[in-house]
């Protein structure tokens, strides 16, 4: 067994540990996307998919732009895979202000393409989503640059920093989606 293979297995084990630790039920609440389309959060956005979930709000000027940068570049790197192999979902922490129209404007300014869904909804529904991932109700002012990578097909769930090079996420997603794995340990710097 090569050293690289060992490293890959070690990385997988590490991720598996994280998956067990972070596993939680994702609610199937009613939400709405940036086009005004009603959706069920779990069955329409997560079920049987590999998905990257992040939290933001359109008026945020502190840590959200950093995570937006991450997702914009990940969207580019995913190319045609976006919406097929991997989906991106950004959930508003400010649902009272972030109407579908506000999300659409934010999406336009950030070049959001199909396969990257911006989500808002009734506060209690959004709270259930944010509680499932972060343990908190939706509210601005939480200074964590954190994103979640979920493979609903396997149940794997990785809580990761939201400020890493694009290649880091691509490698993780390749491994999680099982199709294009690299035999290297994810590195951040």
């Amino acid at each position: 067994m090569t050293r690289m293979r060992c490293l890959a297995i070690a990385a997988m084990l590490t991720a598996a540990i994280a998956a067990v630790a972070g596993a939680n039920d994702i609610p199937d609440v009613k939400v709405v996307d940036q086009t005004g389309l009603p959706l069920h959060f779990y069955r329409d956005l997560v079920a049987n998919k590999v998905v990257v979930v992040a939290f933001f709000f359109t008026r945020c000027q502190d840590v959200c732009p950093t995570m937006a940068y991450t997702l914009v570049h990940l969207q580019t790197a995913l190319g045609d895979r976006l919406g097929h192999d991997v989906s991106l979902v950004s959930v508003s922490l400010d649902p009272k202000h972030d109407t579908p129209e506000a999300l659409a404007a934010w999406g336009k300014s950030h070049g959001v393409r199909p396969g990257w869904t911006l989500v808002t909804g009734k506060p209690e529904a959004i709270n259930r989503v944010t509680r499932a991932f972060t343990g908190d109700n939706a509210r601005p002012g939480l200074h964590s640059i954190i994103i979640f990578l979920v493979n609903d097909r396997t149940g794997e769930w990785v809580r990761d920093t939201g400020n890493a090079p694009t290649e880091h996420y691509v490698e993780l997603l390749d491994r999680m989606s099982g199709g294009r794995g690299h035999e290297i340990e994810p590195q951040r710097h």
Binding site: A10, A11, T14, A15, I17, A18, A21, G22, F57, R59, C60, Q61, D62, V63, P65, T66, Y69, T70, D94, H97, T134, G135, D136, R139, P140, G141, L142, H143, S144, I145, I146, R159, D160, T161, N163, A164, P165, E185, P186, Q187, R188, H189
Partner: protein, 492 residues
């Protein structure tokens, strides 16, 4: 007859309990918390000054200046000192060789709007002065002292109006402050750095980044600078709002953090080539938003934090302190604090070998930021002092005199009436703490020689082990009881 039997039984129980009680009583096992002292501010940042006082501050929004407070943390009597140059909330902070506190960046009115300024607090005059501006703003940067007395600053968010087009907002260009000017480390540009990274000066002179991300790395600050990838932690988890310390030269402990919060802790030995992260004992309580403080004997005290899910779960505070012993890798649960110390709380080792635990919370902060109002939450303008168990294990040795300054590798005498009973001597660099990480503290044991009623020690011989500056010098008895420290400056 029945009553007599009952009394005998009671006496027997009392005798058994008495026989099991440790010398020095329960406090010698669990330590003791003081009463809660009201303070005039919420200590979100705090640093121990070389005169035994602290300087600390809270937060304000919408302004470019802030009131800071300096004074004796034992009395809670503080002098208000305005920093007129910058709002230093969410800055990085560490000490220069002369004991001046360097504060890099801060809060340019609002969250995420990193300030570009560098300010210096001089404990001799109780005044703030301004130093050179950095290359751009930094909100949530970390500083680290370097072996030559310079300071490196890494990371931090730039203000939105200064972020270059296409930037992720992170100031990815580390800088070294030297004699009042900043030098860019252009070879170490990395915008994918975490906010408030855990930086620790390593024995080889590089700066080790121990987290919070699971991939550690090292920054060489020589020349244009360069990052080198390091090892991945055993947990593989992002330990955000956990903590890290260098508990012995080159030996690193990371503990807690993440969400759900972790109980686990890991060590890394920078002295060994090919070292890997290793799991050490786990705490009894999972903690996030905690503090880790190196004590006078080299053990590490975990205080505060929350064990529940979420960014700052105020429903699940951990009141118990826990003590990690590097010799055994085990944690011992200690006495319970009265006040929750979570997000924005601080802890500092004080010269009398007690630990200051203060602040925490989300105070209302004046002018609302643009966009949605950030909700205030419980906040604590108060403090408690923790007396660790070692203070209840016998008589305290005293230092009659020691040099005010020593050179690297210099052998010097410590005058004490307790020389015959001295087993250990340590240097502890004063802390400068915020957001669950102390950017200054470090522990350096030295071996004492006792003869003719004198304790003789040799100062650390390497500036990478002990960056120049003030240190608390402790002597410890054979029972492990520390003296009150004397401040000694180590330099060239």
């Amino acid at each position: 007859m029945r009553i007599s039997r009952f009394v005998v039984l009671l006496l027997m129980c009392a005798a058994v309990l008495s026989a099991q009680a440790p010398p020095g009583g329960e406090k010698s096992v669990a330590g003791e918390w003081s009463a809660v002292h009201k303070w005039p501010f919420v200590a979100i940042h705090a640093a121990l000054l070389p005169n035994g006082h602290i300087v600390g501050w809270a937060r304000k929004d919408g302004v470019t200046e802030i009131e800071t407070y300096t004074g004796d943390p034992k009395t809670g009597v503080f002098t208000k000192v305005l920093n007129p140059y910058v709002q230093v909330f969410c800055a990085g902070q560490t000490f220069l060789p002369d004991g001046t506190l360097l504060v890099a960046g801060g809060h340019d009115k609002f969250d995420g709007w990193g300030a570009i300024q560098t300010t210096l607090f001089d404990y001799r005059t109780n005044k703030w002065t301004k130093s050179a501006n950095m290359n751009a703003g930094r909100w949530y940067p970390t500083t680290s002292p370097l072996s030559n007395g310079d300071v490196v600053v890494v990371s931090g968010l730039m203000p939105p109006h200064d972020r270059p087009e296409g930037s992720n907002g992170v100031n990815g260009l580390p800088q070294v402050w030297s004699k009042g000017t900043w030098r860019d480390l252009t070879g170490a540009y990395n915008p994918f750095i975490e906010l408030y990274p855990w930086l620790l000066l390593a024995p080889d002179g590089t700066v080790f980044m121990a987290g919070p991300a699971p991939n550690s790395s090292s920054l060489n600050t020589a020349g244009q600078g360069a990052w080198t990838n390091g090892k991945t932690t055993k947990s593989g988890r992002v330990r955000d709002y956990g903590s890290a310390v260098m508990y012995e030269p080159g030996k690193v402990l990371i503990v807690g953090g993440s969400d759900p919060p972790l109980k686990s802790a890991e060590t890394f030995d920078l002295n060994k080539s090919g070292a890997e992260w290793e799991l050490t004992g786990s705490m009894t309580f999972a903690r996030r938003q905690m503090n880790a403080t190196i004590l006078a004997d080299g053990t590490v005290l975990a205080t505060g934090g929350t064990s529940g899910r979420g960014f700052n779960n105020t429903n699940t505070p951990v009141h118990e302190a826990e003590l990690w012993d590097p010799a055994t890798g085990k944690w011992t649960t200690l006495a319970k604090a009265a006040v929750p110390r979570l997000y924005h709380s601080i802890a500092l080792l004080l010269p009398d070998a007690t630990v200051l635990n203060a602040g925490g919370g989300l105070p209302p902060w004046g002018v609302p930021p643009p966009g949605p109002n950030y909700e205030a939450g419980p906040f604590y303008a108060d403090a408690q002092i923790f007396s660790p168990p070692y203070l209840f294990r016998g008589a305290r040795p005293t230092i009659t005199s020691a040099p005010a300054s020593v050179k690297y590798g210099e052998t010097f005498n410590i005058v004490t009436p307790d020389a015959a009973n001295i087993a250990k001597v340590s240097f502890v660099r004063p802390g400068a703490v915020t957001h669950a990480f102390d950017e200054s503290q470090r522990f350096i044991p030295v071996v004492p020689t006792v003869s003719d009623g004198k304790v003789t020690v040799t100062a650390p011989d390497r500036d990478t082990i002990a960056p120049p500056g003030p240190y608390m010098l402790f002597i410890l008895s054979r029972a492990g009881v520390p003296s009150v420290a004397k401040f000694v400056t180590i330099g060239r």
